[in-house]
Symmetry: D2
């Protein structure tokens, strides 16, 4: 247990890195943000506004004196390198997902983390969203009984740039990965098998880039529960994030956030608010809560709530889903 | 207690008379619709389709052999005459509201009914609506505790014809009268005082006809509860009928009916259904239920659930509200 | 086109037969209910109350003078026999679903119907429910654009008796069959393939009877849309019937019916109504509307809105789903 | 226009002072929190944690070098003194409501502020709540047309301590004051008259302290609109804050916040979340938004969005409501 503030650095000051930077500086009790690194001038300039030590390289960052922990927010293909380097330097780690797109590389990384005896938390932020957290708590408290059917709807407001898609691993690894983790989280056990159906119904360029834009996955879990996930890269009405758990004692569901709760009735009918922005707005408080949970766990000497194994299992589900689409059959999850 | 079917006649086959006619013929266990009367050819032709004895005058109707009860659906200014005549002939009575717009005439009529020892039920249909009935049951069961604040919103989709307004007694007597009864019903006791605020904000012709189109009434009840009623003769979004009871243990409310329960999300936002028609559609099942309740009570030898006194008390509230607007002060309810 | 009333008989006066009987007698303009048949004394006694000609056998029923049409409400294993006999006698037909559990038998029956040049409407009542009809109209009007994902949730309040399950063809044929039809109806085209996942998670006796109680089906349609259906034989909170269509221009959904629309807020939290009964209550108006649609189409010389082919296609989906579970792979729909 | 950061001090570090302190330090672009004052050791200790100059007296605070503005968060009976002192020292002012409970004293204070040519913003935080702001925007955009009926429900979860009530001016001045301001804000014009009904239905000790706990106010506005406010000091189900504007083109309403958006269906029925905490939680973002609006207006050289006159007018409504209850009649608002 660490009784003094946890001295933490942020590696990578892109969009998500700045969110963690801001939360660590202002909203995470027990954390002291002491350093940040970014290879780009713009990223460093951001950090320098706030009197934080600033470095060009991740290596310099982890050499910052008395650093306890690092938040790895670098590009995905650097995650494993940075985690390994920081773990060997004895730093506790928060890492944005995914750790890597290769199972071998993830396993190798987790082995280093284990040997270094540091903690590693993966950024499955959705687990820390107040709505999903409430749903999980209703499952844990037994309000819905034994879960039989888990339903997750996850639809983005618009497709990402094609460049992103080409390197993201595709829809299952850049988008459904969150649902795979959430399905496991809500089921409370591991997956046995996945059947996935994927189509390219939106822009043909997505298909030409080797990806799909519309998908349905059916997952069977060790406890007999079945999860159904439906995804689309384009919900023109906004970022649609819903979930439901149906079980022997009832059904619990969570709806979307909206910017306000108005209703308007006119001669044209009943109208209501649009949905809440995209992930940065929808999960703003979840990003904060996950970082609070990371710092609290590391300081308290407790296990972090989402570990490297969770990332590995979500990755394996994603790869099995890809294989299922390719081979047009249900696929066992290793 | 009457063990054979209750032989009933309908006096007046206008819009509401035909509704009661149809319900009595098809949907009221224990009732046998045997006769109907209407001074107009069209009304009689309606009844003749269904092999029911048909008369021109109300007097002939109540002379129909072995008639047990009559539903008085004639024009308002005939209600008292018809009730008196039928009561003297020993018939049980269902009468559309209002019995009359004059307190003296109502009291005189009720005296005849009492002397004749027949039952008289007033058509405050809203008490039999499934939503209002549920709200009342939550009050009676104690779910909201002692009622402190009762709120009623009652807004018509469009103003009635000016001709109607000129003879209806005005908004308080043709429209709010239902809310006065409902406020008493939900409060579970009598009113002490009313303060009313009325304006002519819509068509100036309504004001020229001596009426208002927008009103707010505040009623204090014997048990300390306060009711607030808001009315408008024109809600462009449809017939708006809501209620709420707030008390020491909680708050119960009922919302509007809609033709279906869809939600539509598009780039333009969230949309939902319009409200359910006007009173004929909104309270279709309530008209049925009130007639079932009338027949059941008369057959079972039990007191009908809404008596002549209820009509008198709603009328007195209406007249006090009129006086309150005129004298610009709270007025005691006699 | 038939300008006089459509003279119709009801064959079979069990639970559903009596519903059609009552609707035909009271709520279907243009229909004249003239006869009914039931092998059981109780069934016939029901019909005799209403001065309708009553027969013991279906053969006698279709020999009733000047009969135009028959509603076949006999036990499932008699459906094909009765349809064939009535078609050969030149009667138009409304038949409860399913026509038969064997594809061959259904095709044979449809051939007879075709040859006899009579109309045959199948009782997929859900299409006539006001909520599902609204959803379909939003799809047809283009409000959601091209459909990409269709979601149907259909959960019964409690499992049927084991005896029923043993002869019903199982969950896919007695329960999901409605969802298969609705998925086709909403997709607006035919299915290509189904992948089904079924489990026995409730009473083991259901499994011993050879059936499942929990299922998820994924269907791919000719237009690229994917439908996901989730079923359970036991939703302890009531009959759960929801649907959603997601497309290029938006998403439309329909929620459950409730007996009323109250909300209750107490120190214990927010509470609302239970769901509406079981199918007899939930779809009471749909049963009425389908019979109205049948009579209107036959009288108007128009094609009935749900034909024998629709039944055949739902059956084929059900059989493919059974095969999918058995062979643990997606199965083409013939 | 001030192009450098607005240097601001906080006077008073009680509960609400600390909220403004935190917002100014972390969430208000353009503000530089430079000093704070509190007569109590505990208040000062709070500020000292954050390297902010700390004083014992308000006089010392406003003498802090180069101070541009002050947020007055002292006890109510000090508000006028502090505003006058700071205005004379040329500081722009944000002041918690009410400025004072005496009309004379408020007018005197506003005269000083005017003479000093500084800006004064009153803390009617509710105007900055996202829900109320949306409602106002729907009125301003004409979505509901000309407003006819405005409804505000405002109920506290539990009564304040009796000591508070004795010095607060009573329910109309400590609680309804927010609704008076909101009614004016939504009506978009001034009030002509108020009729108020107040009762002591909860703890008799509240009545003995000279106050009421349940109230209904009816306000008439210059534009013909009528507002109805209902208040209770104790809604056992939580802090209930709702509003509705009904007009010639429609009706807009806003509902309560909840900590999450779950629904739970069990055999016991449908359940949902409790309401969001009390004002500190419910209006946390509104406190932030009002301070942002204050700093933005002062920096931009624009008029602050809620001025001293708004406070005076709400106070006059409160005093008229008190008189209305006492004299049992509608009272003109001076």
């Amino acid at each position: 247990m660490i009784t003094k503030p946890l001295r933490i650095g942020v590696g990578g000051l892109g969009r998500i890195g700045r969110i963690h930077f801001d939360n660590l500086r202002n909203h995470v009790p027990g954390a002291e943000l002491v350093a940040a690194a970014d290879p780009f001038e713009g990223g460093r300039a951001f950090a320098e506004q706030f009197s934080v030590a600033t470095y060009e390289s991740f290596e310099e960052l982890i050499a910052h004196p008395d650093l306890d922990a690092v938040a790895v927010c670098s590009p995905t293909d650097e995650h494993a390198n940075h985690v390994i380097a920081a773990a060997r330097a004895g730093k506790h780690l928060f890492c944005e997902k995914p750790l890597d797109l290769s199972v071998d590389r993830v396993e190798e990384t987790l082995a280093v983390v284990k040997e270094a005896d540091v903690q590693l938390m993966l950024g499955f932020n959705r687990r820390f969203d107040r709505h999903f957290a409430k749903l999980k708590s209703l499952v844990v408290s037994g309000s819905v009984g034994e879960p039989h059917i888990i339903k997750l709807t996850s639809r983005d407001p618009a497709p990402p740039p094609l460049e992103f898609i080409k390197h993201s691993g595709g829809l299952f690894l850049d988008m459904t990965i969150h649902d795979f983790d959430m399905a496991r989280h809500l089921a409370g056990c591991d997956a046995l098998e996945v059947y996935a159906q994927g189509s390219n119904l939106l822009d043909p360029a997505i298909g030409e880039a080797g990806d799909i834009d519309t998908a349905v996955c059916v997952i069977t879990f060790e406890n007999g529960a079945t999860a159904v996930i439906d995804n689309s890269r384009q919900a023109v009405y906004g970022y649609d994030q819903r979930a439901e758990v149906f079980g022997t004692k009832g059904m619990a569901s969570i709806g979307n956030e909206t910017p306000d709760r108005h209703e308007l009735f006119t001669a044209a009918g009943q109208q209501g608010p649009l949905l809440e922005g995209f992930f940065l707005e929808r999960y703003a408080l979840a990003y904060r809560a996950e970082m609070q949970a990371f710092v609290k766990a590391v300081q308290g000497g407790e296990t972090v709530p989402v570990g490297g194994e969770d990332g590995l299992k979500a990755l394996k589900l994603g790869l099995a889903a890809l294989q299922s689409v390719k081979e047009h059959r249900p696929v066992s999850v290793g």
